[in-house]
Structure formats: structure tokens, C-alpha cells
Amino acid sequence: MDLFDTFLNAEVMRRTFPMLMQGLWITLQLGAASIVAGLVLGLALAMARLYGPMPLRLLTRFYIDIFRSIPLLVLLIIVYYALPFLGLRLSPFVSAMSALTLVSGAYTAEIFRAGIEAIPKGQFEASAALGLSGRQAMADVILPQAVRIVIPPLTNNAINVVKDTALASVVAMPDLLKQATQAQALAANPTPLIVAAAIYIAFLWPLVALVSRMECRFAARRR
């Protein structure tokens, strides 16, 4: 039995491929849903943190700090195994999506805040002097510029969310990693794990490369 037969066994690959594809589909659904929900939550948190009344600002800051401090795996296990004691029983998908969104929202809020704070004061003043309301200035002047600045860190965060979906396998979520470990058990061969790893890399490497390119371009423009 050589290395190829153990780690890249063509027969095992062929047999377990459909399982892995099912897992990949769930991973992508979970990742996309959590990224979008995290963006919405993050923008709302950033607005509350920057422009809300003082108590709301403090509350938001507290939320952001807590959810950036808690390990995602710990949060996920609390949501899935502890909330049922309060009568709240969430499916593995909803549990995983909630945990990912709560944490991603906290990071996204800080990214949006940094982007908004990077917009020169003159842009806010020109908007106000023209008679735009705060909301209009935000939607038409500030956010379009801020979002451009924060596309690299937002993409980075999206990459992290997709990677972290793998943690959902511990709450019996049949995602790519869970399917791979099951396929490995069935086939008594680690090939599915190697294939799963290759699939993660194939999806995320282009995004990682894209972020690097964007960061280079932004740095060049600033010079």
C-alpha cells in the first residue's frame, strides 16, 4: 500500500464524491447566509455605535467586545446545547448560522466603523451644507465611499466565516467537513479528508489572492 492508495485513493474518491458535494452545498449555504446576515447586523451595529443615543452606544460597544472575545466554538456549543434548557431548540443550521452571524456582525461593525471614520470631515460638512439629512448623507455620500475602503477587510472576514463553518460539524451539521469525516469512516480511508481540504482551498485561495491584490492596489493609490 503506497502513499497514493492511502491519501488519494481514486476508487474511494469516486465513491464518496457525491457525499462531499452535498456537504459542500451546505457549507456554501451556511457561509453565504451568515456573511449576508453578518453584514446587515454589522452595519446596524456600526450605526448604533457611531450615532445612537449614549446608552445604545455603550450597549453596542459591550456587544461588539463580548462577541469578539468569545471563541466561536464555545458560542456554537452554548447555542446548540444550552439554549434548549431555556426551551429554545434550534436546528444545527440555524444554531450554526446564529453563532456565525453574531460573531461576524461584531467584526463587521468594527470594519464599517473604521471605514466611516476614514471619510474626511469635509464630506459630512458638504452634505449637511447642501441640506441632506443625516440618513441621506450616509446613504448617498459616506457609505459608498466607506464601503470601497473596507472591501478588503470585509472580504477577509467573509473568508473567515466560510472557514469557521467547519466548526458546525460538531453540532451534527452535515457540512463539508462532517461529510468528509463520515466518508472517511465508511471507506476506512483518509482520502475524503484530503479531498475536502482541497475543496476548501480551491474556494478560498482565489479570495485570499484577491484580497492581496486589492490591498496592493489601494496602497498604491494612496501613495
Partner: protein, 245 residues
């Protein structure tokens, strides 16, 4: 003539530093007022209070067309009547020149897109940049950007235009083109309050020149009086320093 902009006992402090120490000023409709004075004299702060980009002491009062400059809806009405041009242009870099001019009429006045675009092109023609409407601000010279900023402010059809050192960050060869646009504007009867270091412009265009120092109005009057025959020693010192450098 009734005052169109009326300022009473305007005070403003940054911590313990008093930037404005009780300014009283009336500007009539159609009047062109130039405010001169050394840097730190409070002249920019003064005009930034008129549309409340700066807050001011609660016992001060500013009215524009009778509307008190306060907050909420009244402030929105004042800002719609008051246009402002900044030293650093503050154009919106993510919008084209035409979109910069269209934004406020579209959002604040709900002007239909086609009409706002026609109006923008008319205003851009008027300030001499009709052929650059599709460009982004970054691709224009400083003088062109400032003329776009003037067109953008005019799009709201303001009753009063505030100019906060509009030529101070321009290369010398571009100062003239911006002053020409402002001169044309002065002849249309728009009320203008201009903070400037351009003594030539002040003497030719202003109905009244105001000299400020240390948060107070020191002297004011027609340009030939204030600029050629100042009464106050501080005005004489300042003009001497500015004109003989």
C-alpha cells in the same frame, strides 16, 4: 433695508478659548460682504455658524430670512436656503461632476432626474465646465473643482452663498478663474458672505468689507473706506502686512 441674515451676540468657545466674543451683524438681501482678518480671528467660524456647521452659545441668535438657525426642521430650511463653498472643495469623489451637482436637488427637493441633469448642465456651463460633466472630480484641476463646488451649491438655488476662503488652497494661476465666477455671481443679486484674503476682489466686488480680529468685528464699511483709509490701528497693521509682503 431689512436684514436677510441677522446675527445677534454670536459667541462660540472651544473649551476655554473664546473664538467669537459677541458678534452683531446684519446682511441685507443682495449684499456682498467680504470678511478679512488674520488667521485665527474667527472669520471662518463666523460663517460656519450661519448654517450651523459649528454650534454656538445658546444665548446667541442667528436668523436667515427670519428663520432661526436652530435644529431639526428649521435648520433644514435654513440649510436649503444657504449655499456654501469650502476652502478644500469637498466634492464627492465617488460621483461624477454632473452627479455632484444633481445630488442635493434630487434628494432634498425631489427634482426628477432628467430635470436635475438639465439644471446641472446649465450650471456647469455657467461656471465654464460644461464639457467636463462626465469626469470625476479627481481628474479636474483645483480651479475647476472649486467651480464645480460653486455650481453644486447653486443647484439648490440658495438665497445666500457663503464662501470660506474659496481660493486659499488653489495654485496662483487658478485663483482668477474662480474669482471671475464669483464676480459674475455677485452681479446676479445673490447675497454673498465671503471670507477671503483676496484684497483685489474685496475692493472691486464687495458692498461692505468687515475686518475681524480676535473674535470681534474691529471695523467695517465700504471697501474704499476700510481698505484704503482704515481708522483702526489693527486694521492698518493687518493691511500693511498683507499688501506689502
Amino acid at each position: 433695508m431689512a436684514a436677510f441674515v441677522s446675527i445677534r451676540n454670536l459667541r462660540k468657545s472651544y473649551g476655554s478659548f473664546e473664538a467669537l466674543k459677541g458678534i452683531d451683524l446684519d446682511v441685507a438681501k443682495g449684499e456682498v460682504v467680504c470678511i478679512i482678518g488674520p488667521s485665527g480671528s474667527g472669520k471662518s467660524t463666523l460663517i460656519r455658524c450661519i448654517n450651523k456647521l459649528e454650534s454656538f452659545s445658546s444665548d446667541s441668535e442667528i436668523r436667515v430670512d427670519g428663520i432661526p438657525v436652530a435644529s431639526g426642521r428649521a435648520l433644514a430650511r435654513v440649510r436649503a436656503e444657504v449655499g456654501m463653498v469650502f476652502q478644500s472643495f469637498n466634492l464627492f469623489p465617488h460621483l461624477t461632476v454632473r452627479e455632484n451637482v444633481m445630488l442635493a436637488p434630487r434628494r432634498v427637493r425631489n427634482t426628477p432626474r432628467a430635470e436635475a441633469a438639465r439644471q446641472a448642465d446649465r450650471l456647469l456651463d455657467r461656471v465654464g465646465i460644461g464639457n467636463q460633466a462626465q469626469k470625476y472630480p479627481d481628474h479636474l484641476s483645483g480651479g475647476q473643482q472649486q467651480r464645480v463646488a460653486i455650481a453644486r451649491a447653486l443647484a439648490m438655488e440658495p438665497q445666500v452663498m457663503l464662501f470660506d476662503e474659496p481660493t486659499s488652497s488653489l495654485d496662483p494661476e487658478m485663483v482668477g478663474e474662480v474669482l471671475d465666477v464669483m464676480r459674475d455671481l455677485a452681479h446676479t443679486g445673490v447675497t454673498m458672505i465671503v471670507v477671503t484674503h483676496e484684497m483685489g476682489f474685496a475692493s472691486q466686488v464687495a458692498d461692505r468689507v468687515i475686518f475681524m480680529d480676535a473674535g470681534l468685528i474691529v471695523e467695517q464699511g465700504p471697501p474704499d473706506q476700510v481698505l484704503s483709509n482704515p481708522q483702526e490701528p489693527r486694521t492698518r497693521d493687518f493691511l500693511g502686512a498683507v499688501l506689502n509682503h
